[in-house]
Symmetry: C2
């Protein structure tokens, strides 16, 4: 059983497009150095429906230890301190159990 970690964010009003683009680049660069992250997708909400949040993160990890490795990683903390932290007005996160091969496009 793997872990699907999902997080959505609403930004503060002063957050600009360039801040969001830099965050996305930084998260993807960070991910390349954390092999415990099995799958990863981050980015602005596509806003296919009304009323959604501004930004999303979805990560697949093997287990809770992998999730801790990701979220407590020095590179994740660096992204948080340099980019993400000041941008957040609201954050909502959940972990759900998924089976290998059972959650894919």
């Amino acid at each position: 059983m793997s872990i699907l970690h999902i997080a959505s964010f609403r930004w503060k009003p002063e957050v600009a497009e360039i801040d969001i683009a830099r965050l996305t680049d930084a998260l993807n660069e960070m991910r390349a150095g954390i092999p415990e992250i099995r799958s990863y997708v981050v980015g602005p909400n596509l806003h296919l429906r009304a009323g959604g949040a501004d930004y999303g993160v979805a990560a697949i990890l093997d287990d809770g230890a992998g999730l801790d490795t990701y979220l407590d990683h020095v590179d994740h903390k660096a992204v948080y301190e340099k980019y993400l932290g000041w941008m957040i007005a609201e954050r909502s996160a959940v972990q759900l159990p998924i089976s290998a091969g059972a959650f894919d496009a």
Copy 2:
């Protein structure tokens, strides 16, 4: 390019375990009748990290039309009206683009 739709919820204080179990059963039953939902996982937050929300939904659809089919489906509206709607204190949802085979455990 497929769509990953993620939603997280915080419940009202009066929501009980039995309400959450009935919602989960109803969502999984609903999903079985909506083939546009390619992958689906719902359930209470595993709470592997501090500060998370109460419940999560993650769905993979082929495109925005598939997402509309799911969220506007009569069976989805029925689950909302009978179970989900009254339970919600806060909801946060995002759609992200994913590639087939690139987001899996």
